[in-house]
């Protein structure tokens, strides 16, 4: 899953962006190449989840970004190649073009954005540098904003004129391009006390190709052409209706019936059926999320001591045996219809993805050998024991996730074959993934054996890698439960590599350091990288202009979408 629009991406310095081109695959839009875009029409786009809020940075549902991207724009955005391109800014500020200036002591930086002239909010009011400053101030003031990442690194913002924004950072903040991905209108919100609870939460006003005109909770969100949009003659569509449907299955049925012209977020199992349908085209883009199983190396106990050793999973041979006994490719072939890639590290896309890093592939014979050698002896019930400890562990994932529950059952059966008992005990995501020590997240508190979920790093993976694999980030009572190193992986060399990667500016150096840390992580056999999925969307063949990309949702360029043939019949 990709993150919230304003939150979605942690990018890198512009000089490095060229490198990113290699890793993003582009799915060209469907439609006949001989005819140009057609104006007009209403596109009905099925969404099987409803955005709780449309206010940027007040939630992190993927669907929020999918919908509000049609109306709310930022200074920059990524293109299908993973490069930043200017939107409301004239150019992408870099050191080279003078947009970024490092202070004399090398400890601070200033970023200057020149804004495009004559841009109007959809209500006709001019967009100026004051709006950018207001957005920053509002997010720093409002405690209900979900993320202040990066923004709290900003000392102050100057607006020497209406079209210049000068951002003074307190530090060298290398993912600065990811910030200001959404801008809020000062003239609407400056007098509003509670932004997300106001009308803005449902109908955020922006500069994008469409205006959100109707929000019928649980039913539909209607957006209409923005008459003040900066690109002449665009958008092509008159209207998009985001239709809330109860499930992906209903969305597919409606797509096949032609009741909707596009739908968001399919799963692999739905592809064989749709690929046969001549009226439907698919947009399949690699997604940066990696499904993993984490193994707790410390004792499974609430408020665990990070230095304790798990009686079963503390043994690296047993952990490695579990990896050998995990039939990743079979799971992909059979449950994901071959439409995913075998995982090998937590960073799968972008410049930092370690090249050539692999993980033990399926070989249950090796598992048995390893366990035999390590002294785990099979008992009468087929389960191994060592020094009176039974090789029995429990796996936990989010309740109700069909694919994950099936994977669990496959693993339970596979692990039984090598003499390890795998019990299943799932929890709702609000419990398993609460990410809060106070709320009792079992991963934080160390009260789990194996957990299975997915996590998505950003273009700049530093935060993910540091937070999850640095030994300083092991949550325990002594540090107030900070950090997300849930496997309790400790390796001084890996720590050093992560620290290096975080302080360097040279991309190649950073990539090499991450590769080193992630190799050490795989050597410790604490995580099973199951598979990397794709973002899959589907459209009727008369829709064109869409283009899936790795780091942003499918609706990032709705101004280019158009529809041929008859207007939709609803």
């Amino acid at each position: 899953m990709r993150g919230h629009r304003s939150v979605r991406v942690l990018a890198v310095a512009a000089a490095l962006l060229v490198l990113a081109t290699a890793c993003a695959s582009t799915q060209p839009a469907g439609g006949s190449p001989t005819t140009g875009p057609v104006k007009g029409g209403t596109l009905v786009f099925a969404i099987w989840q409803e955005p709780a809020t449309l206010a940027p940075n007040y939630g992190n549902q993927t669907i929020t970004g999918i919908v509000n991207a049609v109306a709310v724009e930022g200074l920059l955005r990524t293109d299908t190649g993973g490069n930043y391109q200017p939107v409301l800014a004239k150019a992408v500020p870099t050191e080279k073009n003078g947009g970024v200036k490092i202070s004399g002591d090398g400890k601070r930086m200033d970023v200057t954005y020149e804004l495009q002239p004559d841009i109007k909010w959809s209500d006709g009011r001019p967009f100026t540098s004051a709006d950018v400053k207001f957005t920053w101030e509002a997010w720093m003031k409002d405690p209900k904003v979900v993320s202040r990442e990066g923004y709290e690194q900003i000392e102050s913002i100057d607006t020497p004129n209406d079209l210049t924004v000068l951002v003074h950072y307190k530090t060298i903040y290398s993912p600065y391009l990811t910030r200001f991905g959404t801008i809020m209108p000062k003239h609407i919100l400056e007098k509003v006390a509670d932004i997300s609870a106001s009308d803005y939460g449902r109908k955020p006003l922006g500069t994008g190709p469409f205006v959100i005109t109707d929000f019928k909770a649980g039913d539909s969100i209607t957006v209409e052409r923005n008459p003040n949009y900066r690109k002449k003659g665009q958008p092509y569509l008159d209207k998009i209706i985001f239709r809330s449907v109860p499930s992906r299955e209903v969305a597919v049925a409606q797509l096949k019936a032609g009741e909707v012209q596009g739908m968001w977020n399919l799963i692999e199992a739905q592809l064989p059926d749709l690929e046969k349908d001549a009226n439907i085209k698919l947009s399949i883009t690699p997604a940066p999320g990696v499904e993993r199983i984490e193994m707790n190396t410390a004792v499974n106990k609430d408020g665990t001591d990070p230095n304790s050793v798990h009686p079963v999973l503390g043994d690296i041979n047993l952990r490695r045996a579990l990896i050998y006994a995990t039939p990743k490719q079979q799971i992909i072939d059979r449950l994901l219809f071959g439409k995913a890639r075998v995982g090998s590290s937590p960073v799968s896309q972008g410049w930092a993805a370690p090249k050539g890093l692999t993980q033990e592939s399926y070989d249950p014979k090796k598992s048995n050998e390893l366990l035999d050698q390590a002294g785990w002896v099979k008992g009468g019930d087929g389960i191994r024991t060592k020094n009176g400890v039974r090789a029995s562990v429990t796996i936990t994932t989010t309740t109700g996730d069909q694919l994950r529950e099936r994977v669990e059952q496959i693993l339970a059966d596979e692990y039984k074959q090598i003499g390890v008992e795998l019990k299943i005990s799932n929890m709702p995501s609000s419990v398993l993934l609460s990410a809060s020590w106070a709320a009792g997240d079992p991963r934080k508190r160390g009260a789990f054996d194996l957990d299975m979920y997915s996590s998505t790093p950003a273009i700049d993976p530093h935060q993910t890698v540091n937070l999850r694999y640095h030994s300083k980030q092991i949550p325990y009572p002594g540090n107030g439960g900070n950090g997300q190193n849930y496997t309790r992986f400790k390796n001084p060399e890996a720590d050093k590599a992560i620290d290096e990667a975080g302080s360097a500016l040279d991309l190649e150096k950073r990539a090499a350091a991450y590769a080193k840390a992630l190799t050490l992580l795989n050597d410790a056999a604490v995580c099973i990288w199951l598979y990397e999925r794709s973002a899959i969307e589907a459209f009727r063949t008369n829709v064109s202009g869409y283009a899936g990309q790795v780091w942003d949702g499918i609706t990032w360029n709705t101004e280019d979408w158009y529809m041929k043939g008859t207007a939709p019949s609803y």
Binding site: S247, R248, E249, A269, D273, P327, Q330, D333, R334, L335, T399, G400, D401, Q402, E405, R406, E408, Q409, I410, A412, D413, E414, I424, S425, N426, M427, P428, S430, V431
Partner: protein
């Protein structure tokens, strides 16, 4: 009652006569053909489930990824599921869980419900007030909501927990029905008469009133078993019931919405067995009601 000077016609007969009443009930039940057929069906279901390892050559949890979603055939009469497991085998094993959950949960519910309803209906006054406020309170929580929260609280339900939770969340209907019949019966002549002759509370309750409230309790209990089986499947449909890989008819249906198009048999057969079991239980309940209703013979005239 002995030694009573007043000749009051008591609808509830002494021991010997009552025993013959049970025999008559049995005769009447046997005459109820759908109920008898239902007993046969349900008995067969239960027996097959209990003997599952003897009946089926397959392992209910063994994954065979090469045999995913096979259509019904001779080797797999009901086809295979998303993990290549024999559906028929899983239904047999699932029957163990589902039937047991249904019966045991209702046993809990009827016991608690009868107890509460009796106390409230018979003693009235503050006992009634307190108990009925409690019932109101239990009722005012949407049941599914409590089930969901308990599912979360217990981190996925085990067999015992699900029985207890379903039972403790579904006794209220019984208690209200029992109370209602107590309210309408306790001022009846035969009860007043029994009280006049000095019968103790316990005797009045168990001898005179409860037997006369049996019909609604039985109706409620049969519906309860059906309800408990359905509640379990609903809970599992939401992912909070019996956890896989242990099959229950409920959790086998969890993936029905997504599988309906690809492999309808995975969605049809477990549902069919729920249907079959619950229909049988309902017919049995109906037969029992007719059989136990002492005014049954009269009712045939209506």
């Amino acid at each position: 009652m002995a030694g009573s000077a007043i000749a009051v016609p008591l609808p509830v007969a002494p021991q010997a006569v009552q025993r013959s009443q049970w025999r008559m009930a049995y005769e009447r039940f046997r005459a109820h053909r759908p109920a008898v057929a239902a007993v046969v069906v349900l008995g067969a279901l239960a027996a097959l489930s209990a003997a599952a390892p003897l009946v089926s050559p397959y392992d209910a949890t063994k994954v065979t990824l090469a045999e995913i979603y096979e259509r019904p055939s001779l080797a797999h009469p009901f086809g295979t599921d998303a993990l290549g497991r024999d559906l028929a085998t899983r239904i047999l094993y699932g029957g163990r869980v589902s039937l047991a959950v249904g019966v045991l949960a209702v046993t809990v519910a009827v016991t608690v419900g009868t107890l509460v309803g009796t106390m409230a209906g018979y003693y009235g006054r503050w006992v009634d007030s307190v108990l009925m406020r409690f019932v109101d309170m239990m009722y005012s929580f949407p049941r599914l909501f409590l089930l969901i929260l308990f599912g979360v609280f217990f981190k996925g339900m085990t067999f015992g927990v699900i029985i207890l939770v379903l039972g403790l969340l579904s006794w209220m209907t019984t208690s209200r029905l029992v109370r209602a019949s107590f309210l309408s019966l306790k001022h009846r002549e035969f009860v007043e008469a029994a009280r006049c002759v000095g019968a103790r509370d316990r005797r009045i309750i168990f001898r005179h009133i409860l037997p006369n409230s049996l019909a609604p309790i039985i109706v409620a209990a049969t519906l309860g078993v059906a309800g408990a089986i359905i509640a379990e499947s609903t809970l599992s449909f939401l992912g909070l019931g019996i956890q896989p890989p242990t099959p229950s008819w409920g959790n086998m249906l969890k993936d029905a919405p997504t599988e309906m198009n690809i492999a309808p048999w995975t969605a049809v057969f477990p549902g069919l067995f729920i249907f079959l079991a619950v229909v049988s239980i309902n017919f049995i309940g109906d037969g029992l009601r007719d059989a136990l209703d002492p005014r049954h013979v009269v009712s045939r005239r209506g």
